[in-house]
């Protein structure tokens, strides 16, 4: 299996639901807690696996605002894993999920340096690297109802901008949608072969205009009453 996400930039409204869902699930999840610093003070910050950034493409008045959620891409050629000296970072053979073994990490940050997508964040309190687990502790938890065995971020997304599935299966939702809508990798030139794909905004719709050729009403008297029953 090659598990990963598809993010639809055509429908993401930047609500941050996925980011917070990720936070709440994972803080009690397999790599939890996700420490927060200065939670009620100046410059609050903490460990997040999923962050939403916002960009503007083009200039006013033709600019387009784009909301851009990013989490681990579970890259096929994950340099974050190859560089890790301890072997704490690994890509699971069975499903391609990239994980950090919290017991083995020495907190050298090297993997974060190797990650182009900013997907890894050091938990300074635990001294170990943390990252998106693709909710491994949800997707395989047989005690959860079957339709809830999905990443928390995918389940929660109100505008259905996130899809989860197996890219090895050509008939999976993620395979189909990324095929149909030309799912793109970010910074493909780096060769990480990120598994997650991004769907660019759909083409602008064209709607015909309706012009009543025969008519150009100038004043009320131009109208003729029609016989219509109330």
């Amino acid at each position: 299996m090659k598990l990963g996400l598809v993010i639809d930039l055509d429908t993401c409204v930047g609500c941050n639901a996925c980011a917070v869902a990720c936070k709440q699930w994972n803080t009690s999840g397999t790599t939890g807690p996700l420490t927060d610093f200065e939670p009620y003070g100046k410059d609050p910050t903490g460990v997040w696996f999923n962050r939403i950034r916002n960009y503007e493409v083009g200039d006013y008045p033709n600019s387009k605002t784009v909301h851009f959620p990013m989490s681990c891409m579970h890259c096929d050629d994950a340099a974050c894993v190859t560089v890790c000296p301890t072997g704490a970072s690994y890509k699971r053979e069975e499903d391609g999920i990239v994980l950090v073994d919290q017991d083995k990490c020495m907190g050298c940050n090297y993997c974060a340096w190797a990650c182009p997508y900013g997907a890894r964040e050091l938990d300074r309190e635990d001294g170990v690297m943390k990252k998106c687990t693709l909710c491994v502790d949800r997707i395989y938890d047989e005690n959860l109802p079957e339709d809830e065995r999905k990443p928390a971020c995918v389940m929660t997304c109100p505008s259905h901008a996130r899809y989860f599935g197996d890219f090895d299966d050509p008939n999976s939702e993620v395979s189909i949608i990324s095929r149909e809508r030309n799912g793109e990798q970010l910074m493909p030139e780096l060769g990480y072969e990120p598994v997650n794909k991004y769907l660019r905004p759909r083409e602008k719709k064209n709607v015909d205009t309706y012009v009543n050729e025969t008519n150009s009403i100038k004043a009320v008297k131009d109208w003729v009453n029609r016989l219509v029953a109330r």
Binding site: A17, G29, P39, G58, S63, K64, K104, S172, K205
Partner: protein, 990 residues
């Protein structure tokens, strides 16, 4: 919850997987589900009220997720809803009742704890006295609540007319315009038909109460390839994904809509039959300029409106079926008066040149060809791409139809339109556009949500004062249809403390909460004794001119007594408002209480289903707080309100739950519509069911009654639906609901202003002018009031706010997760414009209005109209509140725009000050603000103004440097040493 759990670890052997996502072998058990419980309730991180499923472990919340069966959110959850854990965890929670310390000054925030008994004894005594002498000396105003049915009923029973919820400063323009035009509205009143619409226009919406449903809906549109056009000066959030963005100048939507109307009329592109059959377009309007009765509907002796029958060539009762009324025309009545169909007046008006796109563009800044194109695109979709749903239905006159015809153009509008002083008319203009396209309550169009549509307008009048000790005859708020309905004294002076239903705001359906403090302190129209605020942060983000309001709250008379003698604040958190309270009554969080989302209130219905819901506690209360609902019922019993008291004087209800289950508004109709009847077998109407709560809890805390297929559209004229609605108590009659494009109600007020009305008329010249000018019976555009007295050269920018999707007004700054996303707001402006003005990105600037100035940090962007500046609403906080440290970003870099907005029109009039609101509805005109901006001097950094630091409350926990929330020890997933040593690359073995 500063827990540092250790980690358990398991090793993982390789696993076998085949097709799909099968579960690998040898995975550890990540959670001990046997220690967990899942419970359902209703979210209240905002007023959208989604259904949630909460996993609880040791009275700690493990996970909150959307309830997939819930009609509102269908399983999804927004950012706020996902952050409920951190609301429950907030150090800003109130934990016990508090009294202002003797000798301390109001606003200092110096409190001492009191017991609930002492607090309620004191309050009962005080209220009892007021009730028996002059009940209107109690003003009770509620903010972000959704339990107005209870609070309003309570006020009615108390006998005070001085009650309202927050609608007046929120979006009453939207609600009122809808209810006075189509009998429904946007907002909680109706939704686009997300599943069928092909063309969607969104006017001035950043987030709305319909938070998740809009997001779900927009995605559906995109998936189906419908076109989404957004009209908004700012391109963020929803506007980001619009197919077309129309950066309109704030306050000019009315003109844009009417210009589109112009284009449609000019091209003869409107739904002729729809307009004729379902609106008052054919009703005849008396044309006798400068005379009494001018502009009123021409009626027969029975008071029925008349139309001109083309076949009979005679005046006929316009409400009858099968007549063949003229849509256009001018006729002479036997009495010799000239009458015209209202549609004639309408067409004459909007065919006028001032509405031509070439002229409209000068006002709204939208290019003329674009206005024209958008109108013609909508016409194309409505008339060339119309849809049909094959279902037999019966219309109000008993005629059978075999399908519903749909015009798949829909719209949604909110505060961008309504929070202007011309918002009521602008909203009406949008409804007019919808009606011309034949798209109201039709497939693909805009669908009402039960209990809407209602008759135009609902037959409830605002209550007038009664003798002390007696309940009011009806609810304090209602729908005036003529000057006689105003709540004024014989001299024409306001009777309500907020001056709602006075000449200053005649159709103030939701009151004017933003005027209460100012009026009460100024004794204008009279001083009051006690003010109760529930769930409203009135000394901060929900007041205009915040600095002044804070001073007013502290103002004393010559004798050294507070002009506002006693202030009760019922809140759940340490908000800015708390410091000003004399008595603080702490509420629970939403996860700790019972609550109802009732059909009598602002329900959660969907277009095709009648829905209501409850909240049931998912965690136990751990401090000395009580649900405000409980407190209200208790106070009602203590004060012996008739509806809460048995004949023998004993309390009728044991508590809130008992009240909800057993109280009947009219026989068979109570707060909850589900599982009524003795055994719970009846829906909507039926005698009380003692097991009703349990039924709700069993059913995941909500109730949904799906309308039959033939009851889902054209409900304003759908016989089966109307009969159903009458039985359910939604409407008072089964007569068809006639949409009022031409509003006789407005014309009556206008006539009063002109001195041509046979009832109460305004005496003050300005009231005369305002009613005569703004109460146009046809939707009209006028320049917003503040601009009418503010030089655009001197104050060239429109300053507005938007709601951020991940923050709810003031109350999410206490949330450790959400504030990491947004704890500081900037003033955003157009990059090119800033460059022209020499303003640099992230520099500090002054923003100055006629009312004052603030210093803020600016951020440049592309997606904002050039004369608009904007910021996120309610991010700025007073130091020390909300459980935050004094150096929190919210208090030192975050700011409020409210300081610049005046609650009175800044027009320098010498006469009595006039509210900065829509002259028709009293809707707070937040977005009329005009400002100038200039760079701050070198060294001038940091926000200004800033206020004193509030002390922590007694017993409050200090905030921590670190937060490590976890409900159980993490179960780690380990990589085997063998794998570490043997595997070569990252990839799987192919």
């Amino acid at each position: 919850m500063d827990q540092a759990f250790k980690r358990k670890s398991y090793s993982l052997k390789s696993s076998i997987t085949t097709k799909g996502i099968s579960v690998p072998e040898n995975l550890p058990q990540f959670e001990d589900h046997s220690k967990q419980e899942t419970k359902f309730t209703t979210c209240y991180m905002c007023a959208c009220r989604c259904g949630i499923k909460v996993t609880v472990e040791d009275n700690l919340v493990r996970f909150i997720q959307g309830n997939k069966n819930h009609p509102i959110n269908k399983g999804v959850l927004c950012a706020k809803g996902n952050a409920g854990i951190m609301k429950q965890n907030s150090p800003g929670k109130l934990i016990q009742p508090l009294m202002r310390k003797k000798g301390s000054e109001r606003g200092e925030g110096d409190f001492e704890p009191v017991s609930w008994d002492a607090a309620l004894d004191y309050l009962t005594k005080r209220l009892d006295n007021i009730r028996k002498t002059d009940p209107k000396k109690l003003a009770f105003f509620t903010g972000r609540d959704q339990m107005q049915a209870l609070t309003g009923f309570w006020a009615q029973q108390f006998g005070t007319i001085n009650w309202a919820a927050h609608g007046g400063f929120c979006s009453v323009n939207m609600a009122a315009a809808g209810l006075y035009t189509t009998g429904q509205s946007f907002w909680e009143f109706g939704d686009p038909d997300w599943d069928r619409t092909k063309y969607f226009l969104m006017w001035g919406v950043a987030e709305d109460h319909s938070s998740n449903p809009i997001k779900i809906g927009l995605e559906k549109l995109k998936r189906r390839g419908a076109k989404f056009v957004s009209i908004n000066p700012v391109r963020t959030g929803y506007q980001a994904i619009a197919d077309e963005w129309i950066p309109i100048k704030p306050g000019t939507d009315g003109m844009l809509a009417l210009s589109m109307v112009h284009v449609l009329l000019k091209n003869d592109l409107f739904d002729y039959e729809y307009v004729l059959q379902y609106t008052n377009a054919t009703q005849l309007v008396v044309h006798t300029p400068q005379e009494m009765g001018d502009g009123l509907i021409y009626r027969n002796e029975e008071g029925q409106p008349l139309a001109w029958d083309l076949e009979k060539e005679a005046f006929v009762d316009a409400t009858l079926a099968e007549i063949k009324p003229a849509l256009f025309g001018e006729y002479q009545t036997p009495e010799g008066k000239t009458v015209k169909t209202s549609f004639t007046l309408l067409a004459e008006r909007y065919l006028g040149d001032e509405y031509a796109p070439e002229n409209a563009t000068k006002i709204c800044g939208v290019p003329a060809d674009m206005i024209e194109r958008l109108a013609l695109e909508m016409a194309h979709v409505a008339f060339e791409e119309s849809i049909e749903i094959k279902t037999e239905w019966t219309d109000w006159a008993g005629r059978k139809h075999d399908s519903f015809i749909g015009r798949p153009v829909s719209m949604h509008a909110m505060r961008g339109v309504s929070a202007h002083s011309n918002g009521f008319q602008a909203c009406r203009a949008i409804h007019l556009l919808q009606v011309l396209l034949g798209s109201v309550d039709v497939p693909g169009g805009h669908l009402a949500k039960p209990p809407y549509p209602k008759h135009v307008c609902p037959p409830i009048k605002p209550a007038k004062p009664k003798a002390p000790g007696e309940p009011l005859d009806g609810p304090p708020l209602g729908f005036p249809t003529c000057p006689e309905d105003l709540v004024i004294d014989d001299d024409g002076n306001p009777l309500r403390i907020d001056k709602a239903y006075s000449w200053e705001a005649p159709i103030a359906n939701h009151g004017l909460m933003h005027m209460v403090i100012t009026n009460a302190v100024n004794g204008d129209p009279y001083p009051i004794d006690t003010l109760i605020f529930f769930m409203a942060n009135m000394s901060w983000n929900s007041s205009m001119n915040t600095g002044k309001i804070r001073d007013l709250l502290r103002e004393k008379d010559d004798k050294g007594e507070y002009k506002l003698p006693f202030l009760v604040v019922a809140d759940a958190f340490h908000s800015e408002m708390v410091a000003f309270a004399d008595l603080v009554l702490p509420d629970t969080t939403y996860l700790e209480r019972f609550d109802t989302i009732s059909m009598l209130d602002r329900p959660i219905s969907e277009p095709d289903g009648v829905c209501d819901a409850i909240r049931a506690p998912v965690v136990e209360i751990t401090s000395d707080v009580r649900p405000w609902q409980e407190v209200m019922v208790e106070l009602a019993s203590r004060l012996k309100f008739p509806a809460f008291t048995n004949e023998d004087g004993s309390a009728k209800y044991k508590g809130y739950k008992d009240f909800i289950v057993n109280y009947e508004k009219t026989p068979g109709i109570g707060f909850l519509a589900g599982w009524r009847g003795k055994d719970g077998e009846k829906s909507l109407r039926g005698e009380p069911n003692p097991k009703q709560w349990e039924k709700y809890v069993e059913n995941e805390c909500f109730f949904e009654y799906k309308l039959a297929k033939h009851e889902r559209f054209y409900r304003f004229a759908n016989k089966d639906y109307l009969e159903f609605a009458k039985n359910a108590g939604f409407v008072a009659s089964t007569k068809p609901i006639t949409m009022e494009l031409y509003s006789e109600t407005l014309q009556k007020f206008r006539l009063a202003g002109l001195g041509l009305y046979g009832g109460p008329q305004p005496k003050d010249e300005r009231d005369q002018y305002r009613t005569a000018r703004f109460f146009d019976p046809l939707p009209e555009f006028y320049i917003p009031l503040e601009q009418r007295c503010t030089s655009i050269e001197e104050y060239p920018f429109h300053a507005i706010t938007q709601r951020p999707m991940m923050m709810y007004h003031s109350w999410d700054s206490q949330n450790a997760w959400l504030r990491q996303i947004l704890a500081q707001n900037y003033m955003y402006m157009n990059r090119q414009k800033a460059i022209e003005m020499g303003i640099e990105d992230l520099s500090w600037i002054w923003i100055e209005s006629k009312t004052g100035r603030i210093r803020v940090q600016v951020k440049l962007m592309e997606g904002v109209e050039t004369s608009t500046i904007w910021t996120w609403n309610a991010i700025g906080k007073q130091r020390g509140t909300w459980g935050l440290d004094a150096d929190a970003n919210e208090s030192n870099q975050g700011f409020l725009l409210n300081h610049l907005i005046n609650e009175h029109l800044p027009c320098g009039d010498t006469g009595r000050p006039i509210t900065n609101s829509d002259p028709i509805t009293g809707q707070a005109a937040w977005y009329d603000l005009q400002v100038k901006i200039y760079p701050a001097k070198k060294g001038e950094v940091g926000v200004w103004p800033s206020f004193e630091t509030i002390k922590p409350l007694p017993g409050s926990e200090r905030s921590k440097e670190k937060l490590r929330y976890q409900t159980h020890e993490a179960v780690g997933l380990n990589r085997s040493l063998k794998d570490i040593l043997t595997r070569g690359d990252t990839k799987r073995d192919k």
